[in-house]
């Protein structure tokens, strides 16, 4: 049997988000390394044009299956569904992107398949026999090599680890029916609040963040303007949240939210190790601070040493100019 790489392709209602395309690209590379092909399991009824996107990124087969019945997402049912798909295609690898849904499904599914599970995977395996893969540990302070000892392997790919690469292949789209009846959800949803407008911090690709260097809550407009120009989410350091200048939901750090955007712009943030712990997986960190001794410069890829209140408006202008071109 051909070694299949099964990926769980989560559709967000509008499209397959970038992490899923990154996952497909990684899966294609993994399949090439191990002599297999990539199958995607997709729930719901996405547009043909969205499914073709998966084909452009190396997926040779897409199994489309109805959403499991129930009032809302049920971890048990989805785990059974994906496990059933993995068994049906004899998958050696079952791959997930790093998001809340994956964390809900992958571990349960791994138990069902008696498969070794590694999350936070940071690249292709070092070797396939024994199967060894690298992941970050201690919230980014170190790395580890994990060995999976089972024939079937479940991996969650870390954010910002693999670029989306187009590898167009012929893509077959099939209906999939799980071999087992899915467990019926046993809970009630009594209220639903749709998130509108504001970009969810965890999923934002660009984040603009403010620290004590902003001096006061009243000064946040310059950050809001920059975030608006960039289409970015807002975040802040712990002291800012503790002072009440910004809501706690914006607090990013080891004891707040841990995020992994493409671009993180730290304004007036000194770079205490606990803050770094929340942002170290960002693809690019930019620091703007007037203190040349600030530790953040050791972690930033680009930096400006200057007065925030001069630099930020100028930066906003430059971004707007770029976007209009």
């Amino acid at each position: 049997m051909i070694m299949s790489v099964l990926i769980y392709a989560h559709h967000d209602g509008e499209k397959f988000p970038k992490p899923v395309l990154e996952l497909a690209s990684y899966a294609y590379a993994l399949a090439r390394q191990t002599g297999g092909t990539v199958i995607a399991i997709v729930t719901g009824n996405p547009r043909e044009s969205d499914l073709e996107k998966l084909g452009q990124h190396g997926v040779s087969k897409i199994w489309v299956t109805p959403e499991p019945a129930g009032p809302s997402f049920d971890n048990r049912a989805y785990a059974a569904l994906v496990a059933s798909a993995a068994e049906a295609c004899g998958a050696s690898f079952v791959l997930f992107a790093d998001n809340a849904i994956s964390r809900a499904v992958a571990p349960r599914m791994a138990v069902r398949l008696k498969a070794g599970y590694v999350s936070g995977v940071a690249g292709l395996p070092l070797h396939t026999d024994p199967f060894t893969v690298k992941r970050s540990v201690f919230t980014g302070k170190a790395s580890a090599y994990a060995e999976i000892l089972t024939p079937v392997k479940v991996l969650i790919l870390a954010r910002n680890t693999w670029q989306t690469i187009e590898n167009p292949v012929t893509c077959l789209i099939e209906k999939f029916t799980p071999a087992v009846s899915l467990p019926a959800p046993d809970f009630e949803v009594v209220k639903v609040m749709e998130q509108t407008g504001t970009i969810r911090l965890q999923d934002a690709e660009v984040v603009v963040s403010g620290g004590r260097g902003m001096k006061s809550a009243d000064n946040w407009k310059v950050l809001e303007d920059l975030a608006g120009a960039l289409g970015a989410a807002l975040a802040c350091s712990r002291p800012v949240a503790d002072e009440g200048w910004r809501p706690h939901q914006e607090h990013v750090g080891q004891t707040g939210k841990v995020i992994a955007p493409n671009l993180y712009i730290a304004c007036g943030i000194s770079g205490a190790i606990q803050h770094i712990g929340g942002i170290s997986s960002s693809r690019v960190i930019v620091a703007i601070n007037k203190d040349p001794e600030a530790p953040i410069f050791q972690f930033a890829r680009y930096a400006i040493i200057g007065d925030l209140f001069q630099v930020l408006p100028a930066l906003t202008q430059a971004v707007k100019k770029l976007k209009s071109e």
Binding site: V118, S143, L315, L322
Partner: protein, 249 residues
Amino acid sequence: MKILVCISVVPDTTTHIRFTDKMDALDTNGIQWIINPWDELALTRALEIREHPGSGVTQISVIHIGMKDTEPVIQKALAVGADSAYRVNHAPADSLEAASQIAEVVRKEPFDLVITGHDSADYNGSAVGEMLAELLGWASFSSISSLSVVDSVITLERESDIRSETIIAKAPCVVTIQKGIAKDPRIPSLRGIMTARSKQLTLVEPVKCAPLTHFVRFENPAPRSQCRMVDPSHVEELVNLLRNEANVL
């Protein structure tokens, strides 16, 4: 209703992480051990729930899979208000081992609600809660930002990409919480500290269980490349770099 909170013991978040010479294990010399921050918040929430009259909660226990040297940290959970604790005498190699040991204990005791933290600050597996639920055949809920129990009825708020839902869950179930579930961890009262030792800490021998994964080697982070400084009077240069060099704009 009986609540079990799963706690992991991790190095203090300010610790400089070092490995042994062979780079195959954590160098534990001089490490200050603490309750994993997420788990501490989970315990705090459980205590808050119980403090409300009419919750129906009759017992809050904690469980940890670890060796004897973790007992002082477990004592802290008792000092802040947990009624009893279990320590399974084993150092798990992966999340599945930990979940399997917890499952054994839960099968023997009638817990109604098991709470775990999203992640542990050491190996960042984010799997124990869901694996435990699968092993027990229980329902599970993750990304929970709010949890309450009134008259033994469990109400949760679950956050996803696009919405937040209020759910009424049936016991027994496993709930994996994220930060925001409680504001600050508790400082134990002095009486709590003095009486922690009189609370029950049950030592449980582990069941035989083979890990399906393990860590073979560790590595310190690669040295960072130099930071590229941009002149504050030419911020457009930064924008160009971000677009053309870094490809993030």
